[in-house]
Amino acid sequence: MRWTLWVPLALFTFFLGLAGYQLSQPKDDFIPSGMIGKPLPQFVLEPVSPDRPGVSTADFQGGTPQLLNVWASWCLPCVAEAPHLERLKEEGAQIIGIAIRDKPEDVARFLNRHGNPYTRIGSDDLSAIQFELGSSGVPESYVIDGNGVIRYQHIGDVRAEHVPMLLRELEKAR
């Protein structure tokens, strides 16, 4: 029998193996932003909380790295990350919030219940700045250096184990 007759079977087995291997890999739904290493887009966001000012691009150009937290009062993982953002604040991180599609009364209720680690909170009513950042959901956190350049993106809620890592990233951006 000619050996070439085995080629189709070998190919079939190869693809079967490939499909089997890919099925056994965990699914990665994260869409990383292509904006890392690039400056923040120009924007001005209105305040959404009476005791915190709004947010604009200029607020990130003061020379110190800051954490930009994209969140929403209607987002459940944001509740889970609240204590860890509080922890980051206690460790000296400056956190600026952008609330996606939110209402002042809902924001107030959320901050009352889960704490307010933010120095400023801007309201992004139509997710416009979220698209500019390359963010595909809430919550996401970005390390922005003192010149307003995006240095690092953390997708999903900040957990206890992410706190030291984010502090390191903030230090690196100095």
């Binding site: 292509g34 139509l126 997710s127 416009a128 698209f131 950042l133 595909s136």
Partner: protein, 151 residues
């Protein structure tokens, strides 16, 4: 009560729990963006916007285009597309703006790039191989036939 009865009640209880469970991933309850469900007045511009929206991937649903999805974020993306088309932007420029932020992932219209070239190269390669095999077989038979006629 019989064992069957218990089983049925357990099933009903399970069903009610499923039906009335609060959704885990909540959505915003603020109103949709103005151009999420509102078409542009100019039919030609709206056609450009719709054509583009059918080839952009929804970021939260990931298996639908933003034209097909009812997710809030897809609505906000449709708003962006229509606003930018209305402002005179070229549809392909809008696609590039999104690819710059979200990668090839966001586009259903694959472009040749460092990661996608095999998509385009492999079918060509297979065609060439098939062509070569066919030529050998048919060419081979023609010679045999010619030899047969010669006898």
């Amino acid at each position: 009560m019989t064992r069957h009865g218990h089983f049925l009640i357990a099933c009903l209880a399970a069903l009610t729990t499923v039906l009335f469970a609060a959704p885990i991933a909540a959505q915003s309850d603020t109103p949709p963006a103005p151009y999420a469900y509102q078409q542009l007045d100019d039919p030609a511009l709206e056609q450009q916007a719709t054509d583009l929206m059918h080839t952009l991937r929804c970021l939260t649903c990931q298996s639908q285009s933003i034209a097909d999805s009812d997710a809030t974020m897809a609505g906000d993306m449709r708003h962006q597309v229509r606003l930018r088309i209305l402002a005179g932007e070229d549809p392909e420029a809008i696609r590039i703006w999104l690819i710059e932020r979200y990668g090839d992932y966001v586009s259903y219209d694959p472009q040749v790039s460092a990661t996608t070239w095999p998509l385009f190269a492999v079918p060509l390669l297979l065609l060439l191989i098939a062509g070569a095999i066919l030529r050998r077989r048919i060419g081979g038979r023609a010679t045999v036939d010619a030899e047969g006629q010669g006898e």
